[in-house]
């Protein structure tokens, strides 16, 4: 047996992934277990969970692979702050304190946490882990690979070529020229939280016009060969690191939006901010298409795999798939930093002679739930907990009856998208369902859309282009062919971030039942979490969610929860 644990930690979303004999056995986000959104701490709970799912102990591991090189990162931080002296004077002690007080000792911390010899801990490069997570989970034997994020050790964008001989880096663009940091600065400028609000910028962009294109060209200059530069004067990396933008950007775009104001897109002021979001989204997409086109030119491959936090921009992914010249595009569901844990584990396994993993069939790689034990707790709380024989049919009945249904089934999702295992489901053909869901649970900004799920076989009837390599993981958008029939999931620009499922999945069975009943076989699918919370993972979290939030019915494994009348 060859068992390798991959770990990501210390920056955004910490995670652990386990590969045994070339099989992806488990992958778990730390935030879902610690209940701290975007928890970046060493993922002790997640490591323990994946080892238990794999039925092994830490002592059985052949290697633990960390997803980046902390020493290279220390060098980048040290050299960067010294070069910017004295502007970085205030930043210097904080930056170095953070590095030297914790991050560079990560190999020791992993050895301590797992009680294994330090010699079993290894490092790979940040973008190498991202690239591996993309291509080795994809259905493609050979592919171009594009990694775009905020920053790893030094690289912010890199191109790779994967074939039978392995994964080779072709070129990279280094910090501070970062598309991730460009988008993060605009996210902060618009009053959203960085590392969480980028989706909001993407949703808001659909309400705007590209009226600030010229200003964006000063922030981000893209050449035809895919190389790009940021207008660094507009991005203040040393004195305003919590925002990422400086006074010069405010001079260019106007006053930044306060994070405490309610959005009202009927006002001229908020429509102007929507124009900025649209212009930034367009600039990002143009840059990504130039880079992807260069990847096609350099590799000649038909398939492209994307990774890095920027690869979670589903709107950009659709344009890349259409315009960069590739026949197929794939984005691994955890394309952000958490996904680096999976890439690191795969690289460690391949190094030890394990076979390449099978293409990722589903994102249900996390901890599982069992209904029976939780039913006792639910009854003790005064809830009605009933066993259900045909769960899919019961879910379909509840959705058809215009209920908001919480679905907690099997193992939890890998990646930020709810894909039916920890989901809230509702009718997609009733706009009132969206409004009620927003009032009762999600409390999202009015411009953020909800996503639809459809059977693969029905996808082409409802969404332009039908199913593709990205739709099982909800990492792209598609034009809605009958928007008037699906008002709860159609965004203002006529698109939806569609998920497709096979008939053998439980969500597929739910859709099959709805179809048999003569209902529209498309349902609204959103993540099972309240505002600011990580997605539910365990049955206990699910029960807690049901007590606190106004969903009508919850299915935990084969137990149905309702409230007494």
């Amino acid at each position: 047996m060859t068992a390798v644990l991959g770990v990501s930690a210390h920056y955004h979303d910490a995670a652990a992934a386990l590969v045994i004999d070339g099989r992806i056995v488990a992958a778990q986000h730390e935030e879902r277990l610690s209940r701290i959104k975007n928890d970046a701490s060493l993922p002790k709970r997640a490591m323990d969970a994946v080892l238990r799912l794999g039925g092994i102990s830490a002592g059985d591991l052949d290697a633990v692979v960390f997803y980046e090189n902390p020493y290279a990162k220390l060098e980048r931080v040290l050299v960067g702050t010294l070069r910017a002296f004295p502007r970085a004077l205030r930043q210097f002690p904080r930056a170095l304190g953070s590095q030297l007080g914790g991050k560079i000792w990560v190999m020791d911390a992993l050895a301590d946490a797992l009680s294994i010899p330090r010699a079993r801990i290894e490092l790979v490069r940040h973008h190498q882990a991202h690239a591996a997570s993309a291509v080795y989970c994809s259905p493609f034997e050979r592919a171009a690979v594009m990694v775009v994020d905020a920053v790893g050790e030094e690289a912010c964008t890199s191109l790779w070529h994967a074939d039978a001989e392995g994964l080779r880096e072709l070129t990279h663009i280094d910090y501070p020229h970062s598309l991730g940091l460009f988008y993060a600065a605009i996210t902060a400028y618009l009053g959203f939280e960085v590392n969480d609000g980028e989706y909001k910028v993407m949703g808001l962009a659909a309400y705007g016009k590209p009226a600030r294109r010229e200003e964006m060209a000063r922030l981000l200059k893209v050449a035809s060969d895919g190389s790009y530069e940021l207008g660094l004067d507009y991005f203040d990396r040393f004195t305003r690191t919590e925002l990422g933008y400086g006074q010069k950007l405010i001079g260019l775009l106007g006053p930044a939006r306060s994070p405490f104001e309610r959005w009202d897109l009927t006002t001229e002021r908020d429509r102007a901010y929507a124009d900025i979001a649209r212009s930034a989204q367009d600039a990002l997409e143009d840059a990504l298409i130039a880079i992807a086109t260069e990847a096609k030119r350099r590799t000649g491959e038909d398939a492209l795999c994307l990774a890095g936090g920027v690869a979670l921009n589903a709107v950009a992914n659709r344009r890349i798939a259409r315009e960069a010249g590739f026949a197929n595009v794939f984005v691994q569901p955890a394309a952000g930093d958490a996904g680096g844990a999976l890439g690191a584990a795969i690289l460690g396994a391949l190094t030890r002679g394990s076979p390449r993993p099978a293409p990722l069939a589903g994102a249900d790689l996390g901890v599982a739930v069992a209904g029976a034990p939780i039913a006792t707790h639910a009854r003790a709380l005064g809830l009605i907990a009933l066993p259900v024989v045909d769960v899919a049919s019961a879910i379909a009945d509840a959705i058809a009856a215009r209920e908001i249904v919480a679905c907690v089934q099997g193992r939890c999702e890998w990646g930020p998208r709810a894909l039916g295992f920890r989901s809230i489901l509702a009718r997609a053909d009733d706009v009132e369902m969206r409004e009620r869901l927003n009032r009762a649970v999600k409390k999202r900004e009015p411009f953020r859309p909800f996503a639809p799920v459809v059977l693969e076989s029905d996808a082409a009837a409802w969404f332009a282009g039908g199913a593709n390599a990205m739709t099982p993981f909800m990492t792209t958008v598609a034009e809605v062919l009958k928007p008037e029939a699906l008002p709860a999931v159609t965004h203002v620009d006529g698109t939806a971030r569609v998920q497709t499922v096979g008939p053998s999945t439980q969500l597929g069975a739910v859709l099959g039942h709805l179809k048999q009943r003569g209902d529209i076989p498309v349902i609204l699918n959103t993540s099972l979490n309240g505002p600011g919370e990580p997605m539910v993972a365990t049955a206990t979290d699910a029960l807690s969610f049901f007590v606190r939030h106004g969903v009508d019915r919850m299915f935990i494994d084969d137990v149905m929860l309702t409230r007494p009348a």
Binding site: A40, G97, Q99, I104, M107, R118
Partner: protein
């Protein structure tokens, strides 16, 4: 895990950090790195550094 093994692990990390800077030919930084590492080791062994707030931006 024994205290001696832990100390051995920390010294191994220090060796790897210095090795990294030597390989990247950043020799001029090594004295500074040594001083900073000593401070960092002290902080780690004493469990200090609670004042370092998490960065929203997470650049470092």
């Amino acid at each position: 895990m024994s205290g001696l093994r832990r100390l051995g692990n920390r010294l191994q990390t220090i060796r790897e950090v210095l090795g990294h800077f030597a390989r990247s030919q950043s020799f001029v930084l090594i004295p500074l790195v040594l001083v900073l590492l000593a401070a960092g080791l002290l902080l780690v062994l004493t469990g200090g550094l609670a004042y370092v707030a998490p960065f929203v931006y997470a650049l470092f």
